[in-house]
């Protein structure tokens, strides 16, 4: 027990001292996950909205596939991205493997389907409510889509936050494609895994505490945003 208390005390020491190693890991984690979320949102939001709104061949199949992809195991995504980016793979020439770029690609692939599938749900529900009214007012498909994304924006923010939560908490994919290289591709989750196995509990606990705070904060923000919007807009 004493050992754990000591580790916890040391962990808080690291955080309060703004330990440079810890800081570096946190900053890289945020950079990777935020970039991945931005990319995944740029892909997933329009894709989900298009599947919800437009009738085109293969639309239902796409919806089913997206929903299935939400459950992709991170390690498998890591493996696929590894194969794609490795020397022999189709994108080997870019030399991305074991760089933050590879981790961004992996996290993006992991959460783009989540964002697209949840967006489709939000937009479809809203469209069911709005369709006749918008058509009656004379809104064309493009205008209707913009209106739905705008009026669904609070729900969509929580969708994006869900994607961020998933990206920042995942270990398997970034471990495989990033390699957990010190000062280069070491992020919070991989560092926790490594430091724990090495017995360096202080750093692991410090990072764990930050990661947990981040996750709780994101979820709380998602809830508050929705709640406030509900109360204000009805």
């Amino acid at each position: 027990m004493d050992e754990i208390y000591a580790a916890a005390a040391a962990a808080f020491g690291l955080i309060l001292d703004l330990d440079p190693d810890l800081g570096e890991i946190v900053v890289l984690s945020l950079r990777v996950s935020l970039t991945a979320v931005a990319l995944a949102t740029a892909i997933g939001l329009p894709l989900g909205a298009a599947i919800a709104l437009f009738r085109f061949p293969g639309r239902r199949t796409m919806a089913v596939v997206l929903n299935a992809l939400m459950g992709l195991p991170p390690v498998v995504v890591g493996l696929i991205v590894y194969l794609m980016l490795s020397r022999a793979g189709p994108f080997g020439v870019f030399g991305l493997l074991y760089t933050p770029g590879a981790m961004i690609v992996a996290q993006c692939l992991l959460i783009a389907p989540i964002i697209a599938a949840l967006t489709r749900q939000v937009v479809e529900d809203l469209w069911a409510e709005y369709e006749e009214q918008l058509r009656s007012l004379g809104a064309g498909p493009g205008r209707a889509m913009a209106t739905l994304l705008r009026d669904g924006r609070f729900s969509l923010v929580t969708v994006v936050l869900a994607g961020f939560g998933r990206a920042s908490a995942e270990v398997g994919a970034v471990m495989i494609v990033g390699g957990n290289i010190d000062h280069l591709t070491r992020v919070m989750t991989t560092a926790i895994a490594l430091e724990t196995s090495k017995g360096n509990l202080a750093l692991a606990l410090g990072l764990g505490f930050i990661l947990m705070t981040l996750a709780l904060g994101v979820n709380a923000a998602a809830f508050v945003i929705k709640d406030v919007a509900q109360r204000r807009q009805g």
Partner: protein, 260 residues
């Protein structure tokens, strides 16, 4: 489209002609070969018991539904501009109007913006429309927290701002208290006086008596009777209309459409 111009000055889209229009859904024929013409001028009220097909008929006229057979044709010279679907010259107020998640004023402004009215022209039109329905005071309130009666009036303001040539109204006073109903009826008459053709459903006989110039009576998806308002209420020509005017419920004893 010239933004901000009074639309009454452009070529009319009326008359509206329905040519043997029928509508099927779920394997059932819900509207039976209706042929009729709506002319500019008289306020047309569509009456009929629940489930008669009043809302469906309005949606078919407005262009939200495509008839299974038959055609909906706008005969006026102004109709050549936009074929098919709802265009700016017609508006509809739904049985349950949908308000966007923004302020009352922004809801009206949205309708104008969709129809190409420029930003600087919108403000005045929005203000005037809200004034018209007595909602100026609530302009900045989120539309979805307004009461049912206020939302119904906001839907009318949205339509008013568009200055439509034809306005379809689907039971605009259902669920409203008498004072709110009267307010809505006054607004509808305001449209009429401004030259907008009113096509409206209701199942309130008193309201129909107050507003109607002519009556269409629907039953089981059929157009059973079309009469001037005076004669419809005093001497209905069909037994169904007669029973309806006397306040007898029609649907429990009437034959289902399959057997008819």
């Amino acid at each position: 489209m010239t933004a901000g111009q009074p639309l009454a000055e452009t070529a009319p889209i009326l008359p509206l002609e329905l040519d043997r229009v029928s509508f099927e859904a779920g394997g059932r024929r819900l509207i039976e070969e209706i042929t009729l013409t709506f002319e500019a001028g008289p306020r047309t009220l569509i009456l009929g018991p629940n489930g008669a097909g009043k809302s469906l008929l309005l949606r078919l006229c407005h262009g939200l539904l495509r008839p299974t057979t038959g055609r909906v044709i706008w005969r006026g010279p102004g109709a050549a501009l936009g074929p098919g679907g709802p265009t700016r010259r017609q508006a509809m107020v739904f049985q349950r109007p949908v308000m966007l998640r923004r302020s009352a004023a922004a809801n009206v402004a949205y309708a104008l913006s969709v129809n190409g009215v420029r930003w600087k022209d919108r403000r005045a039109l929005v203000g005037e429309a809200l004034e018209r329905v007595g909602l100026a005071r609530l302009a900045e309130r989120p539309a979805r927290v307004l009461s049912a009666g206020e939302q119904q009036r906001l839907a009318l303001a949205r339509a008013w701002a568009l200055q439509p040539e034809v306005l379809f109204l689907d039971e605009p006073t259902a669920n409203l208290d008498p004072a709110a109903s009267h307010a809505v009826e006054r607004i509808i008459n305001g449209f009429h006086q401004a030259g907008t053709k009113i096509v409206m459903t209701t199942h309130e006989l008193g309201q129909a008596r107050r507003l109607a110039d002519e009556v269409l009576f629907l039953h089981w998806g059929r157009l059973v009777e079309r009469s001037p308002a005076d004669s419809f209420f005093t001497q209905p020509r069909t037994p169904e209309a007669d029973a309806f005017v006397r306040g007898e419920l029609l649907w429990p004893c009437a034959p289902p459409p399959e057997e008819a």
